[in-house]
Subunit: 426 residues, 2 copies
């Protein structure tokens, strides 16, 4: 049987699960993958007390990257600075690398992959997107014969959990977030999840694979879910949609738009049915249409599953090398793709107000596909304004924001106008 | 760039799509997969007229299997006898093999894989299950670090199309089948699809990968969708289920049950939302839970996509070799797994009849989880009997069939009793 000697840096949740799997059940990988994975050294800044197995533990992580006995360096410490130094050192020493670090790949991917190519080693990063669901494998191996036209993904479990709670249990955003934190699904500081950074990093990795663009997280336009209200979710439901935090990537004529925003998804589409903390990715290819990959997007065991799958792949020759030398697809700094839109406005409860709003849409040459104005209930606190929902024709982000601002300036409209994308899977 | 020299036998729908992709758009595979695939020879029994490309075409397929210039023999003729001879000859000549032939793998898999191992070559068969959706890759590579506990799949596009039509458009089975035939989704003789043979072959392939069992199609118990009535589908809908043709595989203590039957699937589960001719596979692993793979399960381009993905994999070292020498899991000849059940009976419209039916369930120690008896409409043709639906507790196939027979013998019940499994994804 083949054997693979590894060094693991980082013994947090994911690192712990990797050590546990390889130490307690090595027969699974031996039997399924035909390889014996040997942990030569573990780097843990807290030292041996952090590692409940009889392994060689060092506190200086650089020792692992420089250990001449290991074939693969496994980076599970997270963050960008030290992780980058460690990975570069390991590559310099001729080692393959496996990492779960989406921030590292999304920020320094091009540099690291080029460095690895020059040293004739490879970097596995299946665990960086969608955890235990093998979406990177599907994208670069399973679909290798096809041109990807677009992808749409639910890539952050925390925000999907919150949106699901808000929809199914009518929780407020705050209550849903608190529940996610209590369940260990959200960090004490949840901002990277909630504001869309985490999903945007993952989307930029998918873009590099799907569209052969640079790894350039700074070109992704994104927004979080804080602005989504219980009222939006209720209107979505009424109109036949779920609200999901959708990472969308699209190529048109060599220009690629990547963005992540809360989005209305029609209920007859699979993505709208992805609940709780689950992730899913729909990849649309010319000729074959959509394939969808669904599963646990985070958590120690799913992420460890992806790390170990990369190790087995490396023991077996690694991955096809896409010819990055012909990158000619441009990553657009703003998303120009057009979406139908949901607008929610509080309109003055007076004759002619709705007509004026409609006229503005007509003036701007924006079609109104649907309009809902519910009756004001008698016990309503505010009967001077009435919530109105408009489903518009297709607009770019820029056009939608410009329309939103113009609407907010109208005297017939009070407060802020909400606008959200509507996913169109064609 | 790497190069791979192939010979292709079979130029029907799938073979044609493989030749088209590799001839017209070789830059896709070169760019995504880093390999130049060269078609050295094509075997077409009809000769050069069947191949609209400038390629070396021979009518004796054995010539391709014996051609010393090719690295990979691609078998796309279907059927078992000639395909088996060709594949064995190619392996004997030291060539890797790629096939889309589920019947071949499900029937002769063990023989062929052992022969290949002895000759130090590999056989790719991604295209044999779920067409363009890379489920075999997910199972043996993406999930390599995990123990599969069960899988449930919609593996036949024709039957899923028919069931979807019967549900959404209230078509009869006959009309839905005719529509599938008109659209090219069903063969003129659709029996292999409709009676479950096709799905059962695919399920036996998944079992070998998921549970390390022999490739033994004869151990799969299966039934078709002909018996599913519009009334069953309407009751399913009323009770919160879709009716799907589910291939189910389960391991318990080294014993594996594989079966394919029409099954009630709760509407809150992703599999119930898989419509039209699409395929989907849910794989449940210990520790990480369910992942689901959805996509086109048939058709020339999706199937060609899987064939080419296998070729790229072979150019890159092939697949992990699971250690088949420690097969110790037994494939059970009958499915002993217990499912809740749907029973539909036509009960005499007279006092005490339902009570007698309920007593029989109690006598047999089978719980009744739900019972529906709708009012007889005034304009009903037959008001002497009333349809009754019972959702029972968990029963094995044998127990369910025995109960069905006993019910049919009751004088209070007229005609045949329908019984279907209810999928429980726990």
């Amino acid at each position: 049987m083949k054997s693979l000697k590894i060094g693991v840096c980082g013994v947090g949740n994911v690192g712990g699960a990797v050590l546990e799997n390889l130490t307690n059940t090595p027969e699974i990988v031996a039997s399924n993958g035909g390889v014996q994975i040997e942990i030569i050294q573990v780097g843990a800044r807290k030292g041996k007390s952090a590692v409940p197995y009889d392994l060689d533990v060092v506190t200086d992580l650089m020792d692992v990257a420089e250990n001449p006995e290991i074939d693969v360096f496994v980076e599970l410490i997270g963050g960008c600075d030290l992780a980058r130094s460690l990975v570069k050192k390991a590559i310099e020493n001729g080692k393959n690398v496996v990492t779960a670090n989406k921030a590292l790949i999304a920020t320094h991917g091009d540099e690291l992959f080029e460095f690895a190519r020059n040293k004739n080693v490879q970097i596995g990063f299946e665990a960086s997107v969608a955890g235990g669901t093998p979406v990177i494998k599907a994208l670069r191996e399973g679909l290798v014969a096809n041109k990807v036209k677009w992808f749409a993904g639910i890539l952050n479990g925390t925000t999907n959990f919150i949106l699901t709670k808000m929809s199914v249990d009518q929780s407020s955003f705050e209550d849903a977030l608190k529940e996610a934190q209590d369940l260990g699904l959200a960090e004490a500081d949840p901002s990277m999840d909630v504001d869309g950074t985490d999903a945007a990093q993952k989307a930029s990795i998918l873009s590099a694979l799907a569209f052969n663009t640079p790894y350039d997280f700074s070109s992704v336009s994104y927004g979080g879910i804080e602005e989504v209200s219980a009222e939006d979710i209720s209107f979505a439901d009424q109109l036949g949609y779920s609200v999901k935090h959708i990472a969308y990537g699209f190529i048109d004529n060599g220009t690629v738009d990547i963005s992540v925003f809360p989005t209305f998804v029609p209920k007859d589409q699979l993505l709208s049915q992805v609940g709780q903390q689950m992730n899913a990715l729909e990849i649309y290819c010319e000729g074959i249409g959509s394939t969808v990959y669904y599963g646990p997007g985070a958590g120690p065991r799913p992420t460890a599953s992806a790390v170990i799958a990369d190790l087995v792949d490396l023991s077996n020759g690694g991955w096809p090398e896409s010819s990055k030398n012909n990158i000619n697809n441009v990553l657009s700094k703003e998303c120009n793709h057009k979406f139908s839109r949901y607008f929610k406005l509080d309109v003055k409860n007076e004759a002619g107000a709705i007509a004026k709003v409609s006229s503005l849409f007509a003036e701007k040459n924006v079609s109104i596909e649907a309009l809902i104005q519910n009756e004001i209930k008698n016990n309503s606190i505010d009967d001077t304004h009435v919530p109105v929902v408009i489903i518009s024709g297709e607009l770019s982000d820029k056009e939608a924001i410009s329309l939103k601002i113009t609407l907010e300036e109208m005297t017939e409209i009070s407060g802020l106008v909400q606008q959200l994308r509507i996913h169109n899977a064609l």
